[in-house]
């Protein structure tokens, strides 16, 4: 694999970063540090969940995605709208209004991700039925969930449903149909996903469970949403019938939608990265019983809560429900879709032990013992001033060679207090009229030098720095 498996689609806009501690505190995998007044994301710890994008008060964390102009790079383009796109619009009664508008916007064809989702639901139902003894299965549609399990929950990797995500299935079908219809070469056709989240941007470049994705570019719902508005014609007689998805497919945009498509009762659907972490912990400990399926969405509300959407996630959920109310259960079926030759994963997901301290168990044991000793020295306030989210993570960073104890302002303060005291006691004699011996004078200079070095070693926020 030539691609970077720890690729991420969150970027730091350095000029906007104030070096505050919001992102390091909110990051669920403790993947961010602040050093020299700027945030740094540690690639291998990042699962691309987008929580820092949501919480950065200075908008210094920005999602990476493609501009809509990518449609000019191809002879023929197919738009793959995520079902969460529909949930952005008020009073939408017919999905065809959005799909027709996409054609007017410049796409040559559309294939709904929600249509492919119905195929994934169908495949999931039959897979789970055939492998009931290995249940519960965990949904594999959210790339951030897979990436979280890959680095933190090795025992749960085998529980991931080994089925391609709806957008991948949609891309495969869309390309096959476009080739058949136009006779163009595969590379002349652009398969462009209109996505609710940047996690899918990373997925398209470094897919999970397969070698290469059929998605060429990923554009943001928030970019496409306003451009479609002028093209949306509500006169139904003018609309080409393009939609092939029903309640199950469109319902995938909401948390609980995928589980609903399984038509089974014994499932759990959790959304929001903090909640899914708790569910995964309990699943790992085998504390949850009687489940056949566990749906997990990194974003609260499900895909409608993605960072590339515009509508409030909970309003969007309600809109999805209203839109699907009078829809048939399902409109797409595997039997009618010969283009999809294999809906299952071709590759296994492998455990990436990125949080391991050392290279060997013995080395890790020694390092953990050092971490414990260091942690005991710190005040346990988890204040974040050192740039690490907790005292424990600072200790881990020190042991990994990426920080020093003086990064802790309390350790620094006590070192300074100690040095000041030494200086004080040396100079006290001098005040009483007794001159310093040459040796004492040398020591005094040494202490003062050490004091200034210690003070200089600690980063001071720019606006507090004194003019020289």
């Amino acid at each position: 694999m030539g691609t970077n498996k720890f690729i991420r689609s969150v970027r730091l806009r350095e000029s906007a970063c104030q070096g505050c501690i919001n992102c390091i505190k909110y990051c669920p995998t403790q993947a961010i540090r602040v050093h020299n007044g700027k945030a740094h994301i540690i690639d291998k710890f990042c699962i691309d969940c987008g929580r820092c994008i949501r919480y950065c008060p200075h908008h210094a964390k920005i999602p990476v995605y493609d501009p809509l102009s990518v449609i000019n790079n191809f002879k023929y383009t197919v738009a793959l709208p995520a079902p969460s796109l529909y949930a952005q619009y008020n009073n939408l009664t017919n999905v065809d209004i959005v799909l027709n508008a996409l054609l007017k916007l410049g796409f040559d064809d559309v294939y709904e991700v929600s249509a492919a989702a119905e195929l994934v639901s169908e495949a999931s139902r039959s897979y789970i039925r055939q492998h009931m003894d290995e249940a519960p299965f965990i949904s594999s549609a959210c790339p951030s969930v897979i990436r979280l399990i890959r680095v933190k929950f090795p025992a749960l990797i085998s529980r991931l449903l080994p089925i391609k995500a709806p957008v991948e299935v949609a891309a495969e079908i869309a390309r096959a149909r476009a080739i058949k219809k136009t006779g163009l070469k595969p590379e002349e056709i652009g398969i462009i996903f209109i996505s609710p989240c940047p996690s899918k941007v990373s997925y398209a470049k470094a897919p999970l469970g397969i070698e290469k994705s059929n998605i060429d570019n990923v554009v943001a719902i928030k970019d496409v949403y306003p451009l479609l508005l002028p093209h949306m014609k509500h006169d139904e007689s003018q609309l080409k019938p393009l939609s092939h998805s029903g309640r199950i497919g469109i319902g995938w945009s909401n948390a609980g939608g995928e589980a609903g498509g399984l038509l089974a009762d014994s499932y759990l659907a959790a959304d929001g990265i903090v909640n899914i972490l708790r569910v995964l912990e309990e699943l790992e400990d085998e504390k949850l019983h009687g489940l056949t399926f566990v749906e997990l969405n990194a974003c609260s509300g499900g895909c409608v809560g993605g960072t590339l959407t515009v509508e409030n996630a909970y309003i969007a959920m309600a809109k999805t429900k209203r839109l699907t109310k009078y829809q048939p259960v399902s409109k797409s079926h595997l039997d009618d879709t010969p283009e999809i030759r294999n809906i299952y994963w071709a590759d296994d997901i492998e455990y990436e032990p990125v949080f391991r301290l050392g290279n060997t168990f013995k080395e890790s044991l020694k390092m953990m013992s050092d971490v414990e000793k260091l942690t005991a020295r710190f005040p346990g306030l988890d204040c974040g001033s050192c740039g690490a989210p907790t005292c424990q993570t600072l200790a881990e960073d020190i042991v990994r060679g990426e920080a020093t104890p003086n990064d802790c302002i309390y350790v620094l303060r006590s070192n300074i207090a100690d040095l000041s005291q030494k200086i004080e006691s040396l100079t006290q004699g001098e005040k009483a009229g007794k001159p310093l011996s040459e040796e004492e004078d040398e020591m005094l200079h040494k202490y003062i030098k050490k004091l200034t070095t210690e003070l200089a070693s600690f980063g001071v926020p720019g606006n507090l720095r004194q003019p020289r």
């Binding site: 090795p154 025992a155 790992e284 400990d285 504390k287 032990p353 044991l365």
Partner: protein, 140 residues
């Protein structure tokens, strides 16, 4: 004897919602040490069951976990009522848990059997009226 790490956890006897915190902490440490997922799973389940037992029957206690390069040893010590008949207590489904505990989904009589199943060695020291110390070992 190589290096070893020792962690001590005080288990609160009054709080069911907190039971599992100690085993969860050990689980995360084992992941940072790069221990295999099967060993992590066995240790976490055996320790969690022990933790719950201490809360249900003994008003809490202390768990000492020693990690060496050959095994993980968990010593669960309490000053509870003791176990009158160990053979009976080891039977699956046998439980002396109170009704209100069972209504919370605990006390199904699987605690000790699971501790034995998931550990590679288990030893019970118990004195009626004085307390119980259970030592479990999971080999690396």
């Amino acid at each position: 004897m190589g290096d070893q790490l020792i962690f001590t956890y005080v288990i609160d006897g009054n709080d069911f919602t907190r039971a599992g915190e100690a085993s969860s902490s050990v689980k995360n440490k084992l992941k940072m040490l790069g221990v295999g997922s099967d060993v992590i799973r066995k240790t976490a389940i055996a320790m969690y069951e022990g933790e719950i037992n201490m809360v249900i029957h003994a008003d809490g206690g202390t768990i000492t976990v020693t990690i060496s390069d050959t095994d993980i040893t968990m010593v669960l010590a309490d000053t509870g009522p003791g176990i009158p008949d160990i053979d009976q207590a080891m039977q699956e489904g046998f439980s002396t848990a109170r009704e209100e505990v069972r209504s919370l989904g605990f006390g199904a009589g699987m605690g000790l059997p699971n501790m034995k199943r998931y550990s590679d060695e288990m030893h019970i020291d118990t004195v009626i009226g004085q307390g119980t110390t259970i030592t479990m070992k999971v080999n690396l």
